[in-house]
């Protein structure tokens, strides 16, 4: 199997007014072509930073990041991103939000319309083409976010806690929807979450990160056949394993907070 995203010895130091924070220290991960990988870790462990560096929105301090062997220098349409805050353009309708990437690429109107029509169908937004984001529910907004990222036909979908602001029911529904879309489009997905349940439900592999400075603590192969049943024995056993790893990191992070260094 081909490697899609290769992250090698990635480090990131943030400095702000002379104060420096080691966000990432030697983060290492290979994501295979078509794989669904979740990044999981205590808050502030730098999982979003990993994603933003892969997206090209953040610079790295050292290390190498490559997608299909090509080093990541800046953002580009071959790496689509979905944001927790949805980040939809409020003045654009659903259709015109989805077509944004195609528009800046200079695609003619008919081609844009054709692509957006099929994506609207794929994510289940039929009938809402001419609606503005403000009139949509959170789940619907994120459907637009996903469709918009897919419009460029990216190799990789980077998702930063995309369902973090949704209620529990909508969240479960969107997880199933995402798996359906993933199976239909065969994209490689790197997905940041802080929900163990979400990670076990979605991922092929779960990367548990250490507390800051973030690196890989453990990579857990989920191995439960899909569709997964959250109440099944295998599901609960994987969940328990991930939770145990995470709890230990959480305790470490807390101990550090109480007595820094």
């Amino acid at each position: 199997m081909k490697t899609c995203i290769r992250i090698d010895c990635l480090s990131k130091v943030f400095s702000d007014n002379g104060r420096t924070v080691n966000a990432l220290d030697g983060f290492q991960l290979d994501v295979m072509d078509g794989e669904f990988v979740c990044l999981l870790g205590p808050s502030g462990c730098g999982k979003t930073t990993v994603l933003r560096i892969v997206a090209g929105l953040e610079s790295k301090t050292s290390g190498d990041v490559a997608v299909y062997g090509r080093p990541v220098q800046s953002s580009g349409p071959e790496r689509g991103m979905v944001f927790q805050e949805f980040a939809l353009f409020p003045w654009r309708t659903v259709r015109r939000n989805i077509e944004f990437g195609l528009e800046v690429k200079g695609l003619p109107e008919e081609k844009r319309a054709k692509i957006s029509r099929s994506l609207i169908e794929l994510v289940g937004l039929k009938g809402f083409e001419d609606t503005h984001p403000k009139e949509l529910s959170g789940g619907m907004k994120q459907r637009v976010g996903i469709a918009r990222a897919l419009a460029n036909d990216p190799a990789v979908l980077l998702m930063d806690e995309p369902f973090g602001s949704l209620d529990a029911q909508t969240r479960n529904l969107m997880q199933r929807e995402l798996l359906r879309i993933w199976q239909a489009t065969k994209k490689t997905i790197l997905f940041v979450t802080h929900s163990v349940d979400e990670a076990v439900f979605l991922a092929d592999r779960i990367v548990v990160m250490t507390a800051r400075p973030g690196k890989v603590r453990e990579i857990i192969e989920v191995g439960v056949p899909r569709p997964r049943d959250r109440t099944s024995k295998e599901f609960i056993s994987v969940r328990g394993k991930v939770l145990a790893e995470l709890d230990e990191e959480f305790e470490k992070a807390r101990a550090k907070e109480i007595s820094p260094d």
């Binding site: 929105l57 580009g76 980040a87 939809l88 353009f89 528009e103 800046v104 009139e135 918009r148």
Partner: protein, 283 residues
Amino acid sequence: MIRMQKIMKILRNVILQNWKQVLLSGASLVLLVTVWWLYSALLHGDWPFEGRERVDFAEYVPYPWVVVQVFIDSFQHQDASGLYMGEHVVASLKRISTGFVLALAVAVPAGLLMGRSKAAHAVGSPIVELLRPIPPLAWVPIFLVVFKFFWGPILIVFLGIVFPILLNVRLGARSVDPVLIDAARTLGARRSQIFLKVVFPYTIPYLMTGIKVGLGIGWMCIVAAEMLGAVGGGVGYYIFLTAGSSLYTKMYAGIVTIGLLSVLTTGVAGLFERWINKWMGTR
């Protein structure tokens, strides 16, 4: 005809739905006119202040109804400069519109740049902050000498309008949600495209606020702009001319005209704002 009926129906609905506000606004206008009338009566020694002596500057504050009469009259009879009020109104409207268009052309690009680029901000800020507090009146002598009676008054008005628009657009450009720019970048947008398709649309509501404030200030500058004369007259010119000839009722008619014109232009800007918000789906 059907269209007219439709407009009347919408207007009726608006009034019916907001009758409390309409009533209060009406009451506030009545209060204003009442205070004016009472002050006038006080100076003239008329009812309800009979017995008081007429003050010698009473002519400076004529009664409201006299001003209304003169206001209507000024549209029907020429003044000392041979112009009707209608012509002054048109001249001032043209002046404000030209100044407004110039102000937009300068303030929008400058505000966007200063809001998004540190270098542009460093270059632009000293100029803006130094020029902004200078009352447009102070420029009148120089402007009329340098730019003459056609462009001079227009540029005075321009100075009044340009800063509120510029500052609002700059504020809007600064407050663009960074996640929207991140999104545009990951979708493949280049810098210029982000500017055009994200930053500019984001600032439009701010721009509309700037326009409304700017138009009001534009009218505040019109007397200064036209006071030493302007090509084709103008309401400000009319006020200055009549005040200079001690024709105070006429002067007040001019003042009322400016008030009404300002209400009209800000009202039109407000309607345009509502239409734009609806079109952009932001309200």
